[in-house]
Amino acid sequence: MEKYIEILGGIIQRQALRNPRAARGLLNAAYSWVRFSGRRSKKPGVRAPSDGMNSAVAGTLVDSFRRPQQAVMVNIFFPCEMIHALGLQPMFPEGLSAYLSCTACQHVFAQKAEEAGIPETFCSYHKTMLGAALTGVMPAPLLIANTTLACDANQLSFRQLAGHYQVPHAVIDVPDQVTQDAVDYVAGQLRQVTAQMEELSGRKLDENVLRSVIARSRRTIQAQRAFLDARGRVSLNTTMTGELCSLIANHVMLGRPEAEDYLTRLLSCAQTAPPPDPGRRRVFWMHTLPNWQDSMKGLLETDRCELVGTDLAIDYLGDMDPEHPYESMARRVVYSINNGPALRRVEASLTAAKQAGAEGIILFCHWGCKQTMGLSQLAKEVFEAAGLPTLVLDGDGCDSRNIADGQMATRVSAFLEQLEGLRP
């Protein structure tokens, strides 16, 4: 990590406890710079579109810091098209946690949450965002709304946040059964929460605007499908941050012009990119990525390795129907590969990995994520039976206190050596 970021992170950590408004101001300034510079990125290949998407995400953080009363705090799996259509801002604290870790200031927030009694074993993204609220750095939103997909942490953190901020809280109960009945059940709840947003914000939802947002989501997913079709035939200069951008573009930002622009630019890059580089091992990634970790960047973003995709970014690739906006949003949640039996996610990941021409899979067990940890051995068995060597890698997407950096680097390095040794 750059020295100046570490210095900034140190200052923010001190201010977070003494003067949270000042800490928020510093974060605002830092993320405003990310927004500004990302738009103008001239980096080669997919790095410029990634910077552009990163800029848009940083923009949501800045806007929700500045105008929290126009922000709805949601989890990453919450379908946000109605929020976009109402002109409100999605505020997704998991994203903030990832940004805080890249600003070298996450420890103070995780520690603050632990001091308040949040279990040390809890997901660090959620722990960090709780700490950001408890310190007063993250402001109170208009409404908090979360789905029960994809993990238990949502049920705990968002309820806790609602209690802390004393703001209304809505829960979208997503059944484990992947059926049309479940879609109808979720669609009904989405209608209710939209009405709640209208009431709280004093804005009336224009159904035509919602339809056009859903139409944009549809085009974005279509662009993503086309990109994935081409992905296996080309080599791209991907990064962990870029993969996270794809995840966000396909979730909270889906329906916004920036997400459509991002996927369209990615597709355009893929259409002109060179064929697979024989010197780089093609690795498919499962679960979130530790983009804060220099040792991982030094292995995964080099001329030795190419990240060819991540399962969280492709958890639903079906068509959205603008004439049935709520059902479309509900279907995306219910039919997400993260819902239902673990085997759905494992098999979809295997298909995606093969489509992307992966030679191996890294399954990242992020600290506290029982969903992913619980399926890790099952997935490894399925992937390896299909001929894809798999590394189950323990780590943390945002908190360095829970990892052994040297061990992680050794494992990933050895895995790349293993893939190199397997090349015909």
Binding site: G117, P119, L156, P341, A342, G368, M373, D394
Partner: protein, 554 residues
Amino acid sequence: MIGYTCKYTPVELLEALGGYPVMLDREVGDFQQAERLTHANLCCHAKAALEQGGAMEELIFTDCCDSTRRVYDVLRQRGGHRFLALLDLPHQDGPCARARLRDALIRLAGEYSAHTGVEFRRTVFLAQCRRALAHPLPPGPFLAVLGARMSRPLLELVRAKLPLPVADLTCSGNRALPPLPPGADTLPFEDLMDWYAGALLSMPPCMRMADLTGRRALTEHPGLKGIVYHTVKFCDYYGFEYAQLQKSLSLPMIKLESDFTPQPAGQLATRLEAFAESLGLEFSRPAAPGPSGAGCALFAGIDSGSTSTNMVVLDRERNILASAVVRTGAKAQNGARAALDEVCRQLGCGPEAFSAVLATGYGRGNIPFATDARTEITCHAKGAHFLRPQARTIIDIGGQDSKVICLNETGAVTGFLMNDKCAAGTGRFLEMMARTLELDLPEMSRRGLEWKHELTISSMCTVFAESEVISLIADNHADSDIIHGLCKSIAARTAAMVSRAGGVPPYIMTGGVARNLGVVRALEEQLGAPIFLPEEPDLCGALGAALLALEEQG
């Protein structure tokens, strides 16, 4: 037999279809099989269920948490069960959610009936529902276990150790149904299942449900005198409620965390007995044959710890006449005998000179010459209040555990926290790191104050921290800077514990780690307040024990 884990499991329906439901609440020796099939950091109850359930022919899980879902997935993938089901349990309890659960129950009934070959027996179902009617809590004062499910052996131990009836109000206990609807004998099956779905969803909610209003009643019963709050390692649900209850509840409460393996009896006994002491509900202890004699005026306290055994002798005026610190060694009895010999040597008397000897520490139950015993929580509080009456928070870091004890102005314990099965932040952690740095502990303490550059040891785990230290050594960092990083790491962990316990200044620090000034300074910085250090921080527990011996016998 059909194994199940959750109170929302429709056990009455399963029995009506020929099943014999059995709760998977046993402890297991290890998680070898479960960790091979899943991951070490999965909820320990789920891993225990996987160990137990793997051998059962019939299993039913509810969609109650991420870990349980994955246990079901893994067992389903492995195959070999004659019946294996996952009940899709809603998070809400409104009409739509109830209808969904009704449909899920009807589907389950069809599948299980096809498996057992038994048609739905309405009389059995109704009889089982009547048996599950809300049963009253114990009459008169009682204690409750709240939070995450507890293994049966641990619940039995808690019941044996506490002096009042203990109600099981955990997520797998406290199961009761409302009265049957009118005309239940003739209701169509679908309507009966609709009532049953509503009945299941009307139970006091567990923490995975969306609306937790019904949980308030659990802590508002007038007969409830105290709570043992239980959490399971790697289950996150109940840590949240515990944190909230700590702020809002006026009842005495103790937290226990377990992992569905046999628990260390000594530490558990210490906690439970200290909890009973704080309730003013002490146990009757048989008087041990001791060295007491008529007219004797010496009162001794002996603290049998994991590393050292410490002893203090007082006269009636509370003057310290003798003290000893000896290594405990392999047997607590031998260490205690050596400490007794040492104080007798200093006093020039024999053991018969003592009016009372009160034992504390992990080995307190194995000291043959002790006349009484108390937990180290009570004894540390007594000793610290004697040494520093202003102190409101004791930070005790010993060889194998660390504690934070909160006191009021009279020295009474108002709350306490102890670390769990983890060496991080204890004397053992420092010992391991000193060994890695090839230093002895006094040298480590001295060098830690000579640091020049700020280093951070971020790992909270002892093993990971050791590998970080090795990396820092390899990077040629000065050992004084590394030691300072370690001191900060212990201080951060301890300060978080102080905060969780609700500790406030003035602080006093006891235990062997108080001799490490690097840790003390780092902790003062974290807490933002000075820490009082007694001259002999190791002797605080023994001193408190001697004071209690004097009060009770003198």
